[in-house]
Amino acid sequence: MPQVSLTVNGTRHTVEVEARTLLVELLREKLRLTGTHVGCDTSQCGACVIHMGGDSVKACTILAVQCEGASITTIEGLAKPDGTLHPMQEAFREYHALQCGFCTPGMVMSAIDLVNKHPNGLTEQEIREGLEGNLCRCTGYHNIVKAIAAAADVMQGRRSELARAAE
């Protein structure tokens, strides 16, 4: 069986996998990082989005063996070691941008990459278009869009802390 060595959330792993194993299967089944979800079988839903070398990637579209030497961050690796949430996680809570929570890890990972790729901020329409690859069935996206805009302000230094959502 092929072997793959990769770094996930700062920890190096060497794992034996079947050649057909997808990255998301490696994460969920071998490393038991079950925060990354599988919501479809056609790479449409984005529940499995992780960061690979800082870029968002659908972990269902890449074979584990293609990840040799890669540095991967999953939802479990976002918060600081002391438990402090990433501003995007915090914004999702503040703006009620999640309900059942199933799409949330992929949505948060996509959103962070989206913000990072727009250093000067995003319009509402840019956020909506940037979420093309992520499906949510619960929220109607409205609060997700607001959360991303608020988190972007913090991540890019336009605000020092998250604005409170309206009561």
Binding site: R28, L98, G101, L135, R137, G140, Y141, A165
Partner: protein
């Protein structure tokens, strides 16, 4: 120590307690659970809509690497496993019961829809199970399929079940036909309308999954499953399918990633993995791939309806006649028969005074996935019919559509209001929600916006829907008389611990609704315990005494009421203990948010003083009062609750492409008392998104051979972020008069009120093209054909 800092009780937009685990990847959904020694199941499904199984050879599959077992329908039958039961029996017009054909968990002799389970492979890994399933040889003899209700009802149509002649499940009616005919005879005008309510795939983001586990030593079974109601699954599967006593069967529904109705029902896979786990003596996990979800999760809607509305010369409604065909799919899912009857026809009065209604509903078997309740369940179908009909009728009467509605509204002073179709509305103010929505949406300013859009080459339209629905199902005696095979109360336990923290056990189940927060707020409000010290436990039959689960926006109205009732008992007992400790008479003890006080004095005891005394009963009237501070209550609702309101949609159509863009959406809903405004707003926004999806994007399409054409997320159009516009949500409250919280329910209003508002807006945008109606989903292709002429048939 309980210290209430910021206000966390009823009315506070408290941030959700459950969010932290979901945001950090620590949620525990069924597929995240791995049991020691776990094996994996793969289910072989029929590729045919209708076929006889002439032979089934599993020998090669059994010899494949890693395979522990392969089972087929005959194996389950040999073990006396029952079929998947239906939970509601409807009676025909003549009083005879509906046709209720057998529904084996694994097909026996015949398959009846694409996706019908035929065999299960149990192997060490999912991949091995899947590989082995490909080695099963099934000798199918394909039969002609009835993919649509029209095909199924034709003379000489393929017979799907031996026990359902003509593929008819039932032929049911409600209302007084003779009174209706008399009303129609004196009508000034009768407006006719036909429509199809498009078939939808619920598509909760978490695919269904189940883990069955059998403990050979104790004989105990555990099922982990993606369910909205674990106790109902235990009841149905234990009593009717596998014949396992409740005490030997634990059902756990852990974190569940959305349901929208599709996870109410008892599904074959739950029974298969539970039964098979005792065969292979190992835990078995099954997780649906999304393609399997499309062809095995119950679908929603799928009605074909003809309606006639009789009006007098002033535009007052005289009567409504409705004839509906409702698709049941190939088998009866758990609640399917009640959806087009008691959740649909009984709602046909809407928010209007209708002297008489007569509705007949034929439920039809087809070679498609079973159809059951999906967000709103019957009520969206009724609302869509009525609200399109109101627009069509207003136009044909030459009346303004808002004025026409207002003219027929149930007056504010008419409550309680008895409709001609069984329901009695307790409260509502449809004028108030209408006025608020018109104001918020700037209805008056619309023509200027239309003109501005036209100047840019866009067709802009505005549409309104004034709706009502019934939630909080429902008094057990009433539903029992209507054919329900279960009671529909809810159960709540309040456990006050020795140091005053609280555990709530509820039979309702949260799969996105935020119960862990909202229910904790009820406790904070009543008992004065901060929500950080309140733990809400749900979803496990081993922990929660009993329950009927979450659907039909019933969790707060019924489940919350059970908690209030249990808290009443806690307070009553607490007063007796407090009276003893403060040497007062019980009648003199008052209680308010955590403090017991002797009336008119400064003598007080905190809830913590009382709970400590109850568990450490040194100074305690132990002969008169049992130690401990825990109470359970069963609450049976006295009526449905009736949320209602007004939705206004504003759209813009690109005439070049026919694409509809949502530019504005306003929802003003009366959901009764609001516990957490942030959560209510989120529920409405999510419901509206699904309603817009139905109106513009979504449709489950079968070809005439019964193949599901829109069977993946690449083919079935789920709403994405850029398909939707911001939704302005407001509430206007009239209290429910018959439950202790005054709550009505908010989970479904969005999906019920919005589809007709959107289609009314699309038709309004196309008013220059002579369009009377456009069927959902209003796709660019349909609209382009209307705009670009010659093919107007597409609209009708």
């Amino acid at each position: 120590m309980n210290v209430v800092a910021p206000f966390e009780g009823i009315g506070a937009s408290v941030r959700r307690k459950e969010d932290l685990r979901f945001l950090s990847g620590r949620g525990q959904y069924t597929d995240d659970i791995n049991r020691p020694g776990q094996t994996h199941a793969w289910i072989l499904r029929s590729p045919h809509a209708h076929a006889a199984i002439q032979g089934l050879d599993t020998a090669a599959a059994k010899a494949m690497p890693g395979v522990l077992a392969v089972f087929v329908g005959a194996d389950m039958a040999a073990d006396n496993v029952g079929g998947i039961p239906c939970g509601w029996q409807i009676h025909n017009k003549d009083g005879s019961p509906m046709a209720e054909p057998p529904h084996p968990a694994l097909a026996i002799g015949k398959v009846r829809h694409v996706g019908d389970p035929v065999a299960v492979v149990i192997a060490e890994t999912k991949q091995q199970a899947r590989d082995a399933a490909e080695a099963i040889v099934v000798d199918y003899a394909p039969l002609p399929a009835a993919a649509t209700m029209e095909q199924a009802l034709k003379p000489g149509a393929p017979q799907i079940h031996d026990g359902a002649p003509g593929n008819l499940c039932y032929d049911w009616h409600i209302g007084d036909r003779a009174v209706l005919d008399a009303a129609f005879a004196k009508a000034h005008k009768v407006v006719s309308f036909e429509t199809t309510n498009n078939r939808l795939v619920p598509n909760a983001m978490e695919p269904r999954a189940a883990i069955g586990e059998y403990d050979a030593q104790s004989g105990d079974y555990t099922l982990y499953t993606t369910s909205q109601n674990p106790h109902v699954i235990r009841l149905l599967m234990g009593a009717f399918v596998l014949h396992i006593p409740e005490a030997k069967l634990r059902v756990v529904a852990p974190d569940v990633g959305g349901g929208f109705g599709s996870k109410i029902y008892h599904y074959a896979e739950e029974a298969i993995v539970t039964w098979a786990s005792a065969k292979v003596k190992r835990p078995i996990k099954w997780t649906a791939e999304r393609t399997e979800s499309f062809m095995s999760d119950a679908h929603g809607r799928d009605h074909v309806t003809k309606a006639e509305l009789a009006l007098d010369a002033q535009g007052k409604i005289l009567g409504l006649k409705v004839h509906t065909h409702a698709n049941m799919g190939a088998y009866l899912s758990t609640f399917a028969p009640c959806v087009p009857t008691y959740l649909y026809a009984t709602l046909l009065s809407g928010v209007y005074v209708m002297p008489v209604i007569y509705a007949e509903v034929k439920a039809v078997f087809t070679n498609t996935v079973p159809v059951d309740a999906y967000r709103g369940a019957g009520r969206p179908e009724a609302t869509y019919l009525l609200e399109r009909l109101m627009d069509v009728a207003a136009k044909e009467m030459g009346l303004d559509r808002v004025e026409f509605r207002r003219r027929n509204f149930i007056p504010v002073d008419a409550f309680p209001y008895q409709t001609p179709v069984a329901l009695q509305y307790d409260s509502g103010n449809y004028f108030a929600t209408l006025d608020a929505a018109l104001e918020t949406a700037d209805w008056k300013g619309f023509e200027a916006r239309r003109a501005a859009a036209a100047a840019k080459g866009k067709l802009r339209g505005i549409g309104i829907s004034t709706y009502l629905e019934a939630c909080g199902i429902a008094p057990s005696a009433v539903v029992g008389s209507l054919g329900a095979r279960a009671g529909l109360y809810e159960v709540g336990t309040i456990r006050v611990h020795p140091t005053g923290s609280v555990t709530v056990l509820t039979g309702a189940h949260s799969h996105g609704q935020g119960h862990e927060t909202t229910f904790a707020q009820l406790v904070a409000d009543r008992l004065g315990v901060p929500i950080a010290n309140v733990d809400v436990v749900h979803g496990d039959t081993a922990k929660v005494p009993f329950g009927m689960g979450t659907y039909g926006s019933r969790s707060l109205a019924v489940g919350g009421s059970a908690m209030v009732k249990a808290m009443d008992k806690i307070v009553a007992k607490g007063k007796r203990i407090a009276a003893h400790l403060m040497e007062a008479s019980v009648e003199d003890v008052e209680f308010d948010r955590g403090t017991f006080r002797v009336a008119g004095t400064d003598k007080t005891k905190s809830l913590t003083d009382i709970s400590l005394a109850a568990y450490v009963p040194h100074n305690y009237p132990i002969e008169e009062i049992e130690p401990g501070l825990e109470e359970t209550a069963f609450y049976d609702p006295k009526n449905f609750t009736y949320p209602g309101g007004c939705h206004i949609a504003e759209v813009e159509i690109d005439a070049e492409t026919g694409k509809v863009s949502m530019v504005n959406f306003t929802a003003v809903d009366d959901v009764g008392r609001v516990i957490n405004p942030m959560i209510v707003e989120g529920q409405v926004q999510g419901g509206v998104a699904q309603g817009i999806g139905q109106a513009l994007l979504e449709s489950a399409i079968y070809d005439d051979q019964g193949q599901l054409i829109s069977g993946s997320m690449m083919d079935y159009t789920m709403p994405r972020a850029d398909d939707l516009a911001p939704v302005s949500v407001a509430t206007h409250t009239t209290l429910c008069t018959h439950n202790p919280l005054g709550v009505k329910g908010c989970g479904e209003v969005g999906a019920i009120g919005s589809p007709p508002a959107v289609i009314n807006a699309v038709v309004d945008a196309l008013r220059d093209y002579g369009v009377r109606h456009i069927e959902m989903p209003a796709t660019p292709a349909k609209i382009w054909n209307i705009i670009h002429g010659g093919r107007r048939a597409a609209a009708e």
